[in-house]
């Protein structure tokens, strides 16, 4: 196996075409794919990413989610030792249940707010003829290929990360999961809060749509059981995914540690934008004159104006030899 993987890796590197590595932008020059290793970034963020609405929505959703989890989890795991202590924090289980409902209403209102903002923004862009579905959360086949490409990169079979738009495959996955999760939690939560009404309206609605559907027998009980299981399961899944994946991804992984300010400032660091959202960065270059100027100067400073100096292997191009890896190798030689 090792032999075959090695050949695969080399063929990929050799096959990587020049224009895949260099991206030409009018008025800036040829931008190498790994320029993110050489740019200067402000931890608070250099480039716009989220509008103030999204920042507010994120704040509302995250706080209400924490409250919902803290009031809902002890109810689901009512027989474990910490459950009474956690509900005691909210003034007993009866009060905790009311707080859970209030937080749920706020969260649903936030979801509505988000829908309004997203729809409004889309309409505005369509009217101005600026709408580009590639820069939105709408999933497309490229995301799947991006993911496979990225996994190959992580395993060392690809020299560079895929060129991704404003939202990467991970973010689109998470966004879809949030839409699904919020819908399930809201519907199931309604079924749990108004069991008497929901158990009547849903079978009756089904009966109206198709009178021959099997709505008698155990249907209301089944629906209620599913609601009960899914509400808890979705919530536990959301909590685990947020705690172990989302938080790790945004604050703990290298380059983001110990804190990424994007969710407060709505701005993203330059190196992050170029690394994970390369195509969005290209958009940024044409939209923000200062950024265009910065990149032009950086390319000049690094002596990377003329693409003809570009060697076949990315490991040997002027940027690399000037900086880290080359120095490391000389250091090794001195020691030996």
């Amino acid at each position: 196996m090792p032999a075959s993987t090695e050949t695969a890796a080399t063929t990929v590197e050799q096959a990587a075409p020049k224009d895949d590595y260099l991206t030409y932008v009018e008025g800036v020059g040829h931008i190498p794919r790994d320029i993110y290793k050489y740019v200067k970034s402000d931890p608070a963020g250099d480039l716009p990413r989220y509008s103030v609405h999204i920042v507010i929505q994120h704040f509302l959703v995250s706080t209400t989610f924490l409250v919902l989890a803290a009031t809902g989890l002890p109810l689901h795991f009512s027989d474990v030792f910490w459950a009474p202590y956690l509900t005691a924090l909210f003034g007993g289980v009866d009060t905790a249940r009311y707080i859970h409902r209030i937080a749920a209403y706020i969260m649903m209102a936030t979801a509505a707010y988000h829908l309004v903002v997203v729809t409004g923004g889309t309409i505005r862009k369509v009217l101005k003829n600026e709408f580009d579905y590639k820069r939105t959360q709408i999933p497309r086949p490229k995301d799947l290929f991006d993911m496979l490409h990225d996994i190959k990169y992580f395993l060392g079979f690809e020299p560079f990360r895929p060129k991704m738009e404003k939202f990467t495959y991970k973010q689109k996955l998470h966004y879809l999961a949030i839409i699904w999760g919020t819908t399930v939690l809201a519907v199931a939560g309604t079924a749990l809060l108004f069991p008497d009404i929901v158990s009547k309206t849903i079978p009756e609605a089904i009966f109206k749509i198709s009178p021959r559907a099997i709505t008698d027998g155990g249907f209301p009980s089944l629906f209620q059981d599913i609601a009960r299981l899914m509400h808890a399961d979705e919530a536990v899944m959301a909590l685990i995914v947020l705690a172990f994946w989302h938080l790790a991804n945004v604050h703990i992984v290298p380059g983001r540690f110990p804190f990424q300010w994007t969710f407060l400032t709505g701005r993203i660091t330059r190196e992050h934008q170029i690394e994970e959202h390369f195509l969005e960065y290209i958009h940024n270059l044409s939209e923000i004159p200062e950024e265009k100027e910065y990149m032009k100067n950086l390319l000049k400073e690094k002596g990377f104006e003329r693409p003809s100096t570009m060697p076949a292997s990315p490991g040997e191009h002027p940027l690399e030899s000037e900086a880290g890896p080359a120095k490391e190798s000389t250091f090794e030689r001195e020691e030996s």
């Binding site: 290793k37 970034s41 996994i151 008497d196 209301p220 900086a323």
Partner: protein, 323 residues
Amino acid sequence: MCHKYRFLGRVDETGKTVNYNVDEKIFVNTVHKNVSCRECHTYIKKVPHDPVSEQVNCGTQCHVTTPFSKERFSHGRIIEIYNGSAHAPRPDDSPELKEAKPDCKFCHLNPIYTKVEAEKIDFEASLRRCMNCHEEKGVTVAYEHMTHRLGRKTSRSPQEIVELCAKCHQDVELMKTFQVSERGLTAVETYNQSIHGKIVTLGGDDAADCISCHASDKLHDIYKKDDRRATVAEKNLRKTCAQCHEQTNSWFVQVAVHPTTEREENPIVFFINLSLRFALYGTVFSLVGLMLLETYGRKKHGIKFLLRNGTSWLGRAKQKDKK
């Protein structure tokens, strides 16, 4: 007289020491403080008395007269209801079953006082309970007066009721010997899985406990599900559920109050639960795996944890460090 002495007692036939002391301090705080000994222990005719062979009968009329009806008080009426319920011993019961069935004193341990705030008392519901023994003559005023002055109630919290019922009904081995139905065997377990049970476990006050559904205001009229007098009998369900769920309808009463996810009893729910579990673990492990792989890959390509000197990549950070 004699029973006030603290060490009044004897060694009985089986060699066990029995203490017959009645602590006055405890007794004067019970609900029976105004009833003299012989009104319940009627079989005692002389002092010192003969060996006791009878049990106290709570249906006895005592000399306490109710202030409004001027009748001698008795628990007789509630005992009549109890005798008709599923918990009363029947002539054709097996001896073990007779032994296991709870008598008055099994549940009614004196005293069970709980402090309550006056505004939290549901006078209507409480009064209906009073009517089990008392006449409806001026009791309302008296009751409100007393609860106001005492701020106490003698009933159990929902949590205590579930505990009390679970004492026997959770004992699957015991229940099996009485040929209880499959659903009946797991009743406590399934109740605790329900939203009612979960709220009550955490000490909630406004969720249904056992007797909220299985008994009416008479409290002792607990019958088997197929008895037409039972509150949980099919035709009575709507009325029972409507006590809390105002919009009760014929669909709603089909919802399982004792939900189960067992494969044999509820296969659809069992498989849904199983697939949800798989989805949960699958999602979590694949996402965390992706994150770890990503960290490994990016680390290998030279990223550092901290964003220092404007970059988190090896290149320039190193250069600046050396300067």
